[in-house]
Every structure is written in C-alpha cells, then in structure tokens.
C-alpha cells in the first residue's frame, strides 16, 4: 500500500494519545447524511436520507443501501466513494470465505473483515482513514444482527443506532421508542419517524432509502411504492 516514498503512515499520534486523523474522519461522518438501523425480533431495517445535490440528478441511478451478500446489507454516513471501495472489498472477502469454507460468511465474520480493512488504512503508508461509518445489517444462523463500524476499525453490535448529521436527536428518539420485542413492521415505522424528526423539508419515497431483511434471509431495498405505503401508515 503506498509507493516507497510514502511508506510511513500519515495517521500519527498526538501528544495526548489521540489519532487526530481518525477524529477528523469521524467529523466527516458526522457531517454526512443521517442514516439509522433498528434490530427487530424477526429482522433488521436500515434507512438513510437520500438528499441529492440538485433536482437534475437522476435519482433512480443512485442507490446508497447496498448488498454485500444475499443476507447482509449495508448503509453508510459520510463519503460515498469511500463506502463504495469498502463494499467492493467486503463483497470479495465474502466470496473468498465461501470458496475457502463452502459456508456463507456469518455476519460477525464479515463485519470483522471489513473493520480490519478500515483499521489497516489507519496504520499503513501513504493512505488516509476511510471517511465513512457503516451500518451492517444481516440475518444468519445467529438471528438478526446490526453492527456499526467506524473509521478507526472499531465495531459494535447495536439494537438500534444512528449516524450522521442528526445523530444525537435520532439516538434520543430511538432510546425512547425501542422495545426488545418489536416486530419488523414496527421497526420500519419507527425508522421512518426517526428520520422524519430531523428531516429538512418534506419526507417522501424519493428522498429516503430503506433496506430490510427478515426471516427469509434475503436482504432487499424497498421500492419507492413500498416506501410510500409505509409512509402512509405512519402519517
């Protein structure tokens, strides 16, 4: 990684023991569009704002929520191009895992491998940390799972989490609304209400994206028509 003239790491410790580059990366995440995830009893839902820079952008061509494997999906807050690179690497790692063990990769393993990549970029020559935090939602033999991975490479499993611009309001809202035995449909409603909280302008199926996975173990992104149905239920 990096050419021989940059074999030293650009991420270095400050005298107080902090890695300032990672703090700055977290600022990049914090100024990105809000995204959130909720783990229900029978599935996981992830959602994000999809504010495009101009009305001229062809919004059907933009998809922020991506699939990593048939049963694991991911959403990000922060720099889009950085997330593309990570998603691509993770997809490849999932395939390599399958070819090696002939077992579909468990969610924890994929999260760990993605986090390892992100950590490597904080300790290698000539590269900078990723400016994204990822919310990884999956359903495997251990049930529904939701993980958040930060630019430093640290990851946590969450029952519900939010990231981006509106993180503090969203988290407070989720803390109040979350219940352990929530069903997936309730979780989608809660996710919509949370997004609505800090939304600038009118929320609609054109400026948000929702992805979910339930006991069928197939992650899918909802169509605008389906999002409209859920929004109507929430009104």
């Amino acid at each position: 990684m990096g050419d021989s003239q940059y074999s030293f790491s650009l991420t270095t410790f400050s005298p107080s023991g902090k890695l300032v580059q990672i703090e700055h990366a977290l600022m990049a995440v914090g100024s990105g569009q809000t995204s959130l995830g909720i783990k229900a009893a029978n599935g996981v839902v992830i959602a994000t704002e999809k504010k495009l820079p101009s009305i001229l952008v062809d919004e059907a061509s933009v998809q922020k929520i991506q699939l990593m494997t048939p049963n694991i999906g991911v959403v990000y807050s922060g720099m889009g191009p950085d997330s593309r690179v990570l998603v691509r690497k993770s997809r490849k790692q999932a395939q390599q895992y399958y070819r090696l063990y002939k077992e579909t990769i468990p969610v924890t393993q994929l999260v760990r491998e993605t986090a390892t990549v992100m950590q490597e970029f904080t300790q290698s020559g000539g590269v900078r940390p990723f400016g994204v935090s990822l919310l990884i939602a999956g359903f495997d033999d251990s049930g529904p799972q939701l993980y958040q991975v930060d630019p430093s490479g640290s990851y946590f499993s969450w029952k519900a989490s939010a990231m981006g611009k509106n993180v503090s309001n969203a988290k407070t809202f989720l803390e109040k609304r979350y219940t352990e035995d929530m069903e997936l449909d309730d979780a989608v409603h809660t996710a919509l209400l949370t997004l609505k909280e800090g939304f600038e302008g009118q929320i609609s199926s054109k400026n948000i994206e929702i992805g979910l996975i339930s006991t069928d173990r197939k992650f899918r992104v909802l169509t605008p028509a389906e999002i409209d149905d859920y929004l109507a239920e929430v009104e």
């Binding site: 003239q5 699939l67 691509r88 997809r91 395939q95 070819r99």
Partner: protein, 273 residues
C-alpha cells in the same frame, strides 16, 4: 533513495518454472502421479423454451469407479449451469471460481449474469493455463439475450452449438443426437432425448455409468433433476445372510497346533482369619 526492485505479485496462469526439472525427472524414470478423471458423458441441447443439460454420474480412477453417484452438473449462476468432463478436481475448481466471479459481477452491475460472460471467464482462465487445467465443459443457460449453449475445451477454445456432447461417451451420445435432434423440441421431448443420449453413453462407454442427471433452464426458472433416471439399480446383499457349509471352500493345507496348558503351583501363606 535507490528504489529496490519491486516483486510483482504473480499474475496467474501456468508457471513454466519447473518444466525443465520435470522433464529431467521423467527422463530418469519418475512417474508423475495420476489424477481422478470423470471419464464422462455430458450433453446439452437447446429446445423451444431454453436449454437442457444432461450428465452421467460415474467418476473413475483408472479402472476403478471412484464415485458411483457424483454430481457433474455444476452451478454457475441461477440461470447458468455447466457440465464438466476431464479431471474432476479441475472442473470443480474452475466452475466454483467462475461462479464466484459471476456473483461479484452481479453485485456490481445489478443485473442477471450472461452466458457469454461465464464463457469468456472460463476460456481466459483455461487458456492462461495452456491446457494443463484438464476441464472440458458444456456450458448452458438462458439470459436476457436468449438461450445459449457452448462447449469449452481444455486449451481454451469454444464452440457455440444447438446441441453438444463431451467426454469419453461423447461419440455414443452424439450418435443419438445426430439422428434424433430437431429444432423447437418441447420440454418433454427434450428431456427424453437427453436421457437417451446419456443412457447411450452409460451403456456403451466404460468411463460412464450409473445414473442420469438432467438440468432444464428456461427464462426465469431452472429445474435441477438430480438422478432423473436410475437405469442401474444396485442389487443389495441378501438380508437373510449366507450359510457357509463345510465343503463349500476347498482346503489347501491343514496345520494343527495344540495349546499347552501351563499350570503353576505357588506356595501360599495360610489365609488369615
């Protein structure tokens, strides 16, 4: 600062490094280890709604049947399957690898995989290994451009055909196809013809045998009919058991060794009260 010579990562393909040494060893009389071949009959044909693939299920190791019911029709994509003849390990490894690459490609493009994509990935890999990856494949599938059937040879050349056969039983199967194939076959007729061709290979070729596997691929649906026909049922050992009476087996020689009884008398202390 002088730039040290960079070690490039290996780019794949056949490495000729050991060829000279191998030649020297074979001249000295070393025998290279053999591989398990599938000695196979695999076929494919295009019918009115799509593609039908067929294969036998015998895997041989020289004159021995190594696997009586192996799977020779490999998954490549939900709409693409591939039959493999040649070295079993090679066909498995190469189809798994391309299937993995196709999955990554599907994620990136968000589209169904095309048969031509699988074909090109296979042929590039086989060519770069100069025929040392001994995999002869019949690749078939249905994609957005229609149904396709191709054959791939170990050196990397390919053919596009309406009906194809490969493997040691290919001549027997091709004889059946050449006489009975016509365009626009129905599903039942197509499966029937594929079954006949594979059976022809099973009964007339030593390297093929056991059962018939069929895979029917149409737009939007794939039916994998594992063991569609079982023309060689196994007769099991009688559950009543066997009786081996004297006189059934010829006695060649007899040797009797009597066992000597060894008894030791030990002076014992009188037993305590």
């Amino acid at each position: 600062m002088e730039k040290a010579r960079v070690d490039l990562p290996p780019k794949g393909g056949f490495s000729f490094d050991l060829c000279r040494r191998n030649e020297m060893l074979t001249k000295k009389g070393l025998q290279l280890p053999g591989f398990r071949k599938t000695g196979t009959t695999i076929v494919g044909l295009i019918f009115e709604d799509g593609v039908i693939l067929g294969a036998d299920t015998r895997a041989t190791e020289g004159p021995i049947v190594a696997d009586k019911n192996c799977e020779k029709i490999h998954y490549m994509a939900p709409n693409i399957y591939c039959c493999g003849a040649g070295t079993a390990a090679d066909t498995e490894a190469v189809t798994d690898m391309v299937s993995s690459q196709l999955q990554l490609h599907r994620y990136a493009t968000r589209r169904e995989s095309r048969v031509i994509t699988a074909l090109t990935l296979l042929k590039s890999h086989l060519f770069s290994y100069q025929g040392h990856v001994s995999a002869a494949l019949v690749l078939g599938g249905v994609d957005i451009t229609g149904p396709h059937l191709h054959t791939v040879y170990p050196h990397g050349s390919t053919d596009t055909l309406p009906f194809a056969t490969m493997g040691s039983g290919s001549l027997a199967a091709m004889a059946v196809f050449e006489s009975k194939y016509k365009e626009g076959l129905t599903r039942e007729d197509g499966i029937q013809l594929v079954g006949e061709a594979i059976c022809s290979g099973i009964f007339n070729d030593l390297g093929s045998g056991s059962n018939v596997d069929v895979c029917v691929i149409t737009k939007g649906k794939t039916d994998y009919l594992r063991n569609h026909q079982l023309p060689n049922p196994r007769t099991y050992i009688s559950s009543r058991g066997y009786s081996f009476d004297r006189g059934h087996t010829e006695v060649l020689s007899t040797k009797i060794t009597p066992l000597k009884l060894k008894a030791e008398v030990v002076e014992n202390d009188a037993m305590e009260e």
